[in-house]
Symmetry: none
Subunit: 414 residues, 2 copies
């Protein structure tokens, strides 16, 4: 079966915003064995939406609209799809009551605009939205003699993902013949893409029936493998065989074997060993703590930390001697080490991390250029410090530095 | 004039890759006064490409294809456009000679596949590619009685950008009547989209010549205005008039008048008043510090802060009395206030922020459900605390909480 995704919103036709919902939907559809054949982006204008809906109904088995279900004048997906398919829109009294209740709960009066969010296409099933006011809609049936499934989903990514997972996947699975696809993701930290590719391409090129994709991010390379076979065990055997060879080649440079993030791996290792962590950050400004605490339950191993932007706070919160800063400068191997050791001592944690550097774009000098970062890890076995010159802009340098810190923690815990 | 961008390539229909060329092209087209009305992504298959080309020629003045000009079997853009427009493809002997020379220079033999890269649509002008083997093509003329411009550009972003800048912009400028576009962006924090829309839609609806777009994020609404007129001053006058009315209506709920981020506004206000900031974060885990320090130069007003995940650290770094935590719990109005006051005292900053709450998805109780967050701001004028129940997942709750803190700082500084 083939799918088509239509992202709705004039903002997606500006240089400022990009449709990302389709990436998530494509991943989930691929897992169901459905290929996405077309994607399009249409602005908030009825005529264009009607044309897109008609074209999609002619050529695709599954059509997913994302966006345009809000309460404003601009939100036209419902109306346009009704016109394109020749279906009536009916106001659903139950939905209306729920909308009113939602507003009442927050002590707000529902505005007249919101009424149209209770308009449902004739024959559609309502997909409840637990996170927002726009319900989704599901239609399945014959259209010009062809079996079609049409989905209207809300535009905000967290609403769309939650609704798709909860309401759409099982409904789709019931309609789609079972497929057999195996996938694996391996991730490698802080190795250049060309170096990874030089080592692994002789291996994956020998597996023409496994689709291999290499993705490169700041301090992270991902290898994606995908194989489709008449049976699940055949598909898995091929993917496992190739992944196994690549694991042998790259060894412990691979931090993730099942697609886990490096935060998840560090979390797992810390908990397994009953160890705790505290961090003192200067140039990364809280990004490392933010990444670590992005996981629910991180309070079990992450005690906390300090964002010590000023020299005074480096002394006050991370016990860095003022004389050390005066002698070596705030951006130095010695201060990074002292930050890691100091925050570890202050928080009584198993490990302490210290990061100091120049994230730019301003503040660089000849001796200490933008991108220079020291990352230190202190533990029972002593303190290690690495010096790195990271490329890219402020955001990329900060991401690289936190990635380096996470990789150092991971390797220390192995 | 309206444009349509068609990105070609099956890899752009996977979960792993995204078309980014269209963002660049949109920016450049907007500068020329051209609106992008549709974008679509089509795989490497002839039938889909022919249909996309035909549809685009019917509805858009300027049609830009990116990708599908390479030498492989999969590269079908030339052939599909020739079929859709009923044009012949002619092999260009000059291009062929250049291609051969390019390969010879590198000591390589040209493969038979590459021949088709010299195929040019009848009536097309060749756009030289200084960085790769695929030349671009430019066609302009009547199609079904309508004036149309059709561009074929290579897919690799650096080739496309170089070619578009060098070969296409001046050609387009010669064809497009001079355009005058004015734009404005207003941003509002922590007001529901429907409430903003109810207040401003009577205003913007009276300006049918100004295109208004409402974007909603976690705790932020953006109003984008765009107007096209025969002269720049007319366009600006209309946008300014409408924006002025909306500014009158929403007053200081608007935090940004020129598209600045709330971090930038807070940065500007703190510097203008010579004030400094420190933060103590629990459930946001460093996100507030990270947002504030994402700006270069933030060390001028941001002293630092503490990520106090554990109760011990709330006491140690933010001076929160242990008895207060025992009495009210870590997630409470009183602890948030004590965190803000304590971090302010410890850092000797003008303002201190304290955030404590339940970001979820685990850790919620009946009394203290997921989404409950207390945000406190302490300053010379005393301490204020707000209690909020934010909707959404962990990421969204954390974003909302930091947005609320930034908005409180902004209002205190007004």
């Amino acid at each position: 079966m083939n799918a088509e995704i239509i992202a709705v919103g004039s903002e997606l036709l500006t240089p400022l915003r990009q449709d990302t919902n389709s990436l998530y939907l494509t991943e989930k559809l691929n897992e169901l064995g459905v290929e996405v054949r077309f994607k399009s982006i249409v602005g908030d204008e009825r005529e264009g939406l009607v044309a897109a809906a008609k074209l999609a109904m002619r050529r695709s088995d599954i059509i997913i609209f994302s966006g345009g279900l809000g309460p404003t004048e601009d939100d036209l997906t419902r109306e346009a799809v009704a016109e394109a398919l020749g279906l009536k829109l009916n106001r659903d009294p139950q939905l209306l009551a729920k909308l009113e209740e939602r507003f009442a709960k927050r002590g707000m009066k529902m505005s007249a605009n919101n009424l149209k969010q209770a308009d449902i296409l004739a024959s559609a099933a309502v997909l409840p939205n637990t996170l927002g006011t726009a319900p989704g809609q599901w239609i399945s049936g014959k259209y010009d003699g062809q079996e079609r499934i049409l989905l209207l989903l809300p535009g905000p990514p967290y609403e769309l993902k939650t609704m798709f997972d909860a309401e759409c996947i099982s409904r789709l699975r019931a309609k789609i013949p079972p497929q057999h696809i195996a996938r694996r993701i391996l991730k490698i930290a802080l190795m250049p893409e060309s170096q990874v590719d030089a080592r692994v391409s002789p291996l994956y090129k020998a597996y023409t029936d496994v689709e291999t994709t290499i993705l490169a991010g700041a301090g992270e390379i991902q290898l994606h493998f995908r194989c489709r076979k008449p049976s699940q065990s055949e598909a898995e055997a091929r993917v496992e065989e190739l992944a196994g060879k690549i694991e042998d080649e790259l060894g412990d440079a691979i931090f993730s074997r099942k697609g886990e993030t490096i935060e998840q791996i560090v979390s797992y290792l810390l908990q397994m060993r009953g160890m705790t962590l505290a961090v003192a950050e200067s140039c990364t400004g809280g990004l490392l703590a933010e990444r670590i605490t992005s996981l629910s339950g991180s309070s079990r191993y992450f005690l906390g930390g300090a964002v010590v932007y000023s020299n005074e706070l480096k002394t006050q919160f991370a016990n860095v001697p003022k004389t050390l800063i005066d002698k070596h400068g705030a951006v130095s191997r010695e201060v990074a080490a002292a930050m890691a050791e100091g925050i570890r001592k202050r928080c009584l944690s198993s490990y302490g991390v210290g990061i100091t550097g120049v994230a730019g774009p301003t503040g660089g000098t000849d001796q200490k250029p933008v991108g220079l970062v020291y990352i230190a890890l202190a533990g029972d076995e002593g303190t290690q410090v690495v010096e790195r010159n990271f490329p890219g802009d402020r955001k990329r340098i900060r991401t690289f530095a936190t990635q380096q810190a996470l990789e150092m923690i991971r390797r220390a815990l192995l």
